[in-house]
């Protein structure tokens, strides 16, 4: 396979006596879209929080380009190229779509000491913002205040902001949640377009979308990896079917 970018080795996270993630190992390669499936409470969001640094792991290693980054702060990981989106929309509601993305791009060229320059005057940041906005399909909404966007559009903005930071790793926490069918389709198309240049981790409930875009699927149950492999293997896996059907849990509640 292609270049290994980010990987977890025996990663665990405990909340009191409860393991939200237990001995999780997975690899993310450039050009590979790695989807994570599992019923609610399987530890998918915890997995993303551990990789992004929002939560420190209780045990295990996180390797980014061969370096153990498990002690790094979220902002340091982000600057290194690990970008993430949130399951619950996490934007700057009072800013325009453009300013949301421009500020995101600014994190790559902070220029904090250029006190006498206008933030909006830097062409590189404006271009990066506009590129991200166009990619996420929000070009027409560029100058709208983010709080007034529809829920689906806010989800698109969520992705646009990550893209504006030009990350090499994308950790996407249910990007399709709350999107209409049309928006979903264009998001799936965007994911396909982004895959060649990024290592993507996709947590998603929408099975159709996952099987349409994923190169590798990892199924998690109760904080542990149940099975990992190409989509065909997962589809036919007895263990996965048992996990989903056996507990009487439909895939997308």
């Amino acid at each position: 396979m292609a270049e290994l970018v980010l990987s977890a080795r025996g990663m665990s996270r405990r909340f009191g006596g409860l393991y939200a993630n237990k001995d999780v190992s997975l690899d993310m390669h450039k050009g590979v879209l790695h989807a994570v499936l599992g019923p609610n409470g399987a530890g998918k969001s915890t997995l993303i929080n551990l990789l992004s640094g929002d939560l420190p792991p209780s045990a295990g290693e996180i390797l980014y380009r061969g370096e153990d980054i498990s002690g790094w702060s979220p902002d340091k990981r982000s600057r290194a190229g690990i970008g993430r989106s949130y399951q619950r929309t996490n934007i700057f509601p009072g800013f325009t779509v453009f300013e949301n993305c421009r500020l995101a791009a600014q994190s790559r060229a902070p220029r904090a000491l250029r006190v006498f320059s206008k933030a909006v005057s830097f062409a590189d940041l404006r271009d990066a913002a506009d590129r991200a906005i166009a990619q996420a399909g929000l070009a027409e909404r560029r100058d709208v205040v983010a709080a007034t966007l529809s829920h689906g559009e806010q989800r698109q903005l969520e992705i646009a902001m990550v893209l504006a930071t030009s990350p090499s790793v994308l950790l996407l926490d249910e990007p399709l949640a709350g999107m209409g069918p049309e928006e979903s389709q264009s998001m799936v198309a965007l994911l396909k377009k982004l895959t060649p240049d990024h290592a993507i981790l996709l947590v998603e409930h929408d099975m159709d979308a996952v099987f349409a875009v994923a190169d590798v699927i990892t199924v998690m149950v109760a904080g542990q990896v149940l099975e990992s492999g190409p989509p065909d293997q997962i589809r036919d896996s007895v263990a996965v079917q048992e996990a989903y059907l056996g507990e009487g849990e439909p895939d997308d509640e």
Binding site: S107, L113, K118
Partner: protein, 325 residues
């Protein structure tokens, strides 16, 4: 970011002109009062940078104002005028340096804890000056001769002259205002606005949020130090009271009264507060009671502060509920 900026901008030259011409008509009492309002405006604007623009509700801002005021006395010779070029930057630096040290600790906390810890630090500094002979203890200390700017034998600026002092205050007010406006549109200013809006997202976008907050805190401390310098020069003495939590509370009230996150609001708040204080304390010894009523009324009727009044009235007249005010 404020959208309705144009309207307020237009009044600025007029306000500036009025302030510049005021001493021609005003008596020395009113000149001093306006001087005080301008000094408090600088102080309130520095706090607005934290409260209104960065989302850091500091309840210990008097500490930076106060230590800077004390530094003026300590940096000036006892019976000769201090050198303005030394004392002024010294005071600003003192305010900024104390803010740096305090910021290293308090900026690790959030919300209500931040309010409490800033208050605690300010009270610690208050008691350092109150209980040690460093600045004359609880009696305070006199600035016998105010600083002057002198080149060779020629005295260019003498802060002992009330007229010269008035215009120095006015010029420094303009400098502080312009500096803050420029700062707020810079990348740093936009990052601070981002921290106010959504600190968590700023972190995940890769901003070292702590350092940004520290930069804002130190800047605010330095500008508060500028106000402290002017205050010491206006009155010619300093007491521990200027470091006390009353002072921190007053400046916070000015910002809230005028409207947070607008800078202009800080000026309106400082003006309203000082004038009301003057009027009420002439009426009764219990002026704080009346002040309290005014503040509660403004906060309840005008959540955006006095600076939102024009937009609010306009909204009422047109009949639409303009809530952006």
């Amino acid at each position: 970011m404020p959208l309705a900026r144009k309207k307020t901008r237009n009044y600025l030259p007029l306000v500036l002109l009025m302030l510049a011409l005021f001493p021609i008509f005003g008596s020395s009492y009113y000149n001093e009062l306006i001087g005080k309002i301008m000094i408090m405006t600088i102080f309130a604007m520095s706090l607005d940078l934290l409260v209104g623009f960065t989302g850091l509700v500091s309840f210990g801002h008097a500490a930076f104002f106060g230590v800077a005021a004390y530094s003026v006395v300590l940096l000036s010779p006892k019976y000769d005028p201090g050198n303005l070029l030394l004392v002024l930057p010294g005071a600003v630096f003192t305010g900024a340096a104390v803010a740096f040290v305090v910021g290293l600790f308090v900026l690790r906390t959030k919300g209500i804890y931040f309010i409490m810890v800033t208050l605690a630090f300010a009270q610690m500094i208050y008691f350092v000056f109150h209980d040690t002979p460093l600045g004359g203890g609880s009696d305070g200390a006199f600035l016998n001769v105010k600083p002057e700017l002198r080149i060779g034998e020629k005295v260019l600026l003498d802060l002992n002259e009330p007229m010269q002092f008035y215009y120095v205050v006015l010029v420094l007010l303009v400098v502080a205002y312009v500096f803050l406006r420029v700062l707020l549109r810079s990348p740093l200013g936009h990052a601070l606005a981002g921290i106010r809006s959504n600190e968590h997202r700023m972190l995940s976008l890769g901003f070292p949020v702590f350092l940004y907050k520290l930069a804002g805190f130190v800047t605010a401390g330095g500008i508060a130090g500028l106000a402290g310098f002017l205050s010491a020069c206006q009155y010619g003495f300093v007491t521990p009271e200027i470091l006390s939590w009353h002072q921190s509370g007053n400046v916070l009230l000015m910002v809230i009264l005028g409207g947070m996150g607008t800078l202009n609001g800080a000026a309106i708040g400082a003006f309203a507060f000082v004038v009301l204080q003057e009027v009420f304390s002439a009426l009764t010894k219990h002026w704080q009671l009346l002040m309290g009523v005014v503040i509660v009324t403004v906060v309840m009727v005008l959540p955006g502060g006095l600076s939102s009044l024009p937009a609010r009235l306009k909204g009422l007249l047109i009949g639409g509920g303009n809530r952006n005010g």
